[in-house]
């Protein structure tokens, strides 16, 4: 029974390690939360205060009420843009993936191979031409610019095709005998059976877009159209010098919505991210 005995000390080490790692992860966030309740004087003090002596809502209030900060609008914009983007990616990628996975047409393999090669081209090379296109279409400062340019997501097609191929064909054959056409096979057989894959891809692209900074930063320019990550950059450049707790409050407040979603859907999010990561291999 040697293995049984060796388990206990091993687990002690595991717990110690996980606790230390957990502290490394949590401590920065807790400090930010704690200092959000401090005054400027209290934050600029040595030794640094971990717990506020007289907790105050002043900094949080300031972030929420300053004329040049619109966290409410930025959150709304981020949610609308990320939702729209996710919908666009799924609506474009799923039918394309179905065609590649299930339909015979000339050039199937050639076209799919071409798409795969373009995965190697990083999106940065498209930034300048797409920015100029947004400007010419007068889409700057609109949701169109946040939703459409990245919607043709080749990785999404690749991932969904992998999953669609694995769906057993007999169900589709049965549907065909019942009179289903191509759309019926796609809509009533493939999509319902691939719900996990669609959810996984949806979560993945939503989170990516929700936290994206570069593209929203260059295609939006008025206070009302910014997204949360861009708003935080603005908050930082306007207030970091003079009023630090406000900046921390902004970081904390902006993170609350996504953390609430995470607490509710932790299992789905962890599974979705894992599935997408593994599917990309």
């Amino acid at each position: 029974m040697k293995p049984e005995r060796s388990i206990l000390p091993q687990h002690t080490i595991t717990y110690v390690f996980l606790t230390l790692l957990g502290l490394f992860v949590v401590f920065p966030m807790l400090i930010a939360v704690s200092q959000s309740f401090m005054t400027n004087q209290e934050v600029n003090r040595w030794p640094p205060q971990i717990i506020p002596v007289e907790p105050t809502l002043a900094s949080i209030n300031a972030v929420l009420t300053q004329q040049d900060l619109r966290l409410d609008l930025w959150l709304r914009n981020s949610l609308i843009a990320a939702t729209g983007y996710t919908a666009a990616v799924l609506l474009l990628c799923a039918p394309a993936a179905f065609a590649f996975a299930r339909l015979k047409f000339p050039g199937n393999n050639l076209l799919f191979g071409f798409l795969l090669i373009t995965i190697m081209i990083p999106s940065q090379v498209t930034l300048i031409p797409n920015y100029l296109l947004m400007r010419d279409l007068q889409w700057l400062d609109t949701f169109n610019a946040l939703v459409f340019p990245g919607a043709a997501n080749v990785f999404g097609v690749f991932l969904l095709r992998q999953f669609f191929i694995q769906v057993p064909t007999d169900l589709e054959e049965a549907a065909v005998l019942d009179g289903a056409g191509y759309f019926g096979r796609f809509w009533h057989v493939i999509l319902p059976l691939s719900r996990n894959a669609l959810t996984a891809l949806g979560i993945f692209v939503f989170l990516f877009h929700y936290n994206d900074l570069f593209w929203p930063f260059i295609v939006t320019n008025s206070l009302e159209t910014r997204t949360l990550p861009v708003g935080l950059a603005i908050l930082n450049s306007s207030y970091a010098g003079q009023y630090r707790p406000m900046v921390l409050s902004g970081a904390v407040l902006s993170s609350i919505p996504i953390l609430i979603v995470y607490i509710i859907f932790q299992r789905q999010i962890i599974q979705g991210i894992t599935l997408t990561g593994m599917g990309g291999r």
């Binding site: 293995p3 060796s6 091993q10 595991t14 996980l18 790692l21 957990g22 490394f24 992860v25 920065p28 966030m29 400090i31 930010a32 934050v43 003090r45 040595w46 971990i50 474009l92 039918p95 394309a96 065609a99 590649f100 339909l103 015979k104 047409f105 798409l115 373009t118 190697m120 081209i121 990083p122 940065q124 090379v125 498209t126 930034l127 031409p129 797409n130 296109l133 043709a152 080749v154 056409g181 191509y182 929700y210 936290n211 900074l213 570069f214 949360l228 990550p229 935080l232 930082n236 970091a240 900046v247 970081a251 902006s254 993170s255 932790q266 999010i269 962890i270 894992t274 990561g277 593994m278």
Partner: protein, 307 residues
């Protein structure tokens, strides 16, 4: 068999060509929406970027003369480009190595048969959900020279205050540390999936042969995880090579140009100096470097399949 089905089967046997054509038409219909977007925002954009890189294209100037490869010649002689490239390489190397080690250790720990497995898994992934904005703002203050918690912690072991983000030699490692904290969750999940794919019998057999847990890790876990480690490091290289938000939020490229990354520099050229032609040349060069890195990924990963 209903009349409908019989009709379909007869049609299938008699007009097999028209059925084939129908399938082809259906395929193109399913592909069309994606391809329209793909052609406009990917194919057209890439071609346009290459074309623009041969022009002196300033956004505020109406005349855009063709200048051949002058932009590329400028790039070769551009000091800042080489500084940014070097910074990006150092940042990527530090971050990928650090992230992989932390993620692997975390994954091994949370896949042990312990209580609270799921709690730790969920907890350790949390930073990855934050935006680079939130992460940057939190860490700038933690790393603050005068009032930062990191220097406070170090003062207990007698260290003098360190200027983490203001010292040219320390700024890249500091951004790396921040990025490891932010990003180790995703490779951790990949490693967890990889670890769960290793058959438990292998460990049992090794334990019966008297292997210690260190033996088990070095001789079973690590070799069997090799493909996963490759995947994590290579995708990590590609994603960290595109670093932009951390220097943008935390240092604005400074001190001096010590934390300019390639994408940060691209931003400066195209959206601060408005030099779209030169920016396109820079973007094309970044793309070529990254395409080379991605090809390495494909080669390395496809070799794995032969095993």
């Amino acid at each position: 068999m209903s009349a409908n089905q019989r009709a379909r089967l007869t049609a299938a046997s008699r007009f097999s060509i028209s059925l084939k054509t129908r399938e082809i038409l259906a395929a193109y219909t399913f592909l069309a929406p994606f391809m329209v977007f793909f052609l406009i925002f990917v194919v057209r954009a890439v071609v346009e970027a290459v074309r623009m890189s041969f022009y002196d294209w300033h956004i505020l100037r109406p005349s855009r003369p063709y200048i051949g490869i002058e932009n590329y010649i400028e790039l070769i002689n551009d000091n800042v480009w080489w500084i940014a490239l070097q910074n990006t390489i150092v940042f990527t190397a530090l971050t990928v190595v650090g992230t992989t080690i932390v993620a692997l250790a975390a994954a091994v720990a949370v896949t042990r048969p312990i209580r609270g497995q799921n709690f730790f898994r969920v907890l350790l992934y949390t930073p990855s959900l934050l935006s680079v904005g939130a992460v940057g703002l939190i860490w700038v203050w933690l790393l603050n020279t005068q009032f930062g918690i990191v220097n406070y912690g170090l003062s207990f072991v007698g260290a003098r205050p360190v200027n983490w983000l203001g010292d040219p030699g320390l700024v890249i490692p500091s951004l790396s540390l921040t990025s490891i904290w932010w990003g180790f969750g995703f490779p951790m999940l990949i490693f967890i999936a990889g670890l769960q794919g290793i058959p438990e019998q292998l460990y049992e057999a090794a334990r019966i042969d008297g292997g210690s847990s260190a033996d088990l890790f070095w001789h079973i876990t690590l070799p069997l995880l090799r493909p996963t480690i490759l995947f994590v490091t290579v995708t990590g290289v590609i994603s960290h090579f595109q670093v932009y938000g951390q220097p943008f939020i935390m240092t604005n490229g400074g001190p001096g140009r010590s934390s300019y990354s390639l994408i940060f520099y691209l931003y400066q050229i195209a959206w601060t100096a408005f030099r779209m032609g030169y920016g396109a040349a820079v973007a094309v060069c970044i793309a070529v470097i990254m395409a080379a890195l991605t090809s390495v990924q494909f080669l390395v990963l496809s070799r794995r399949i032969e095993y």
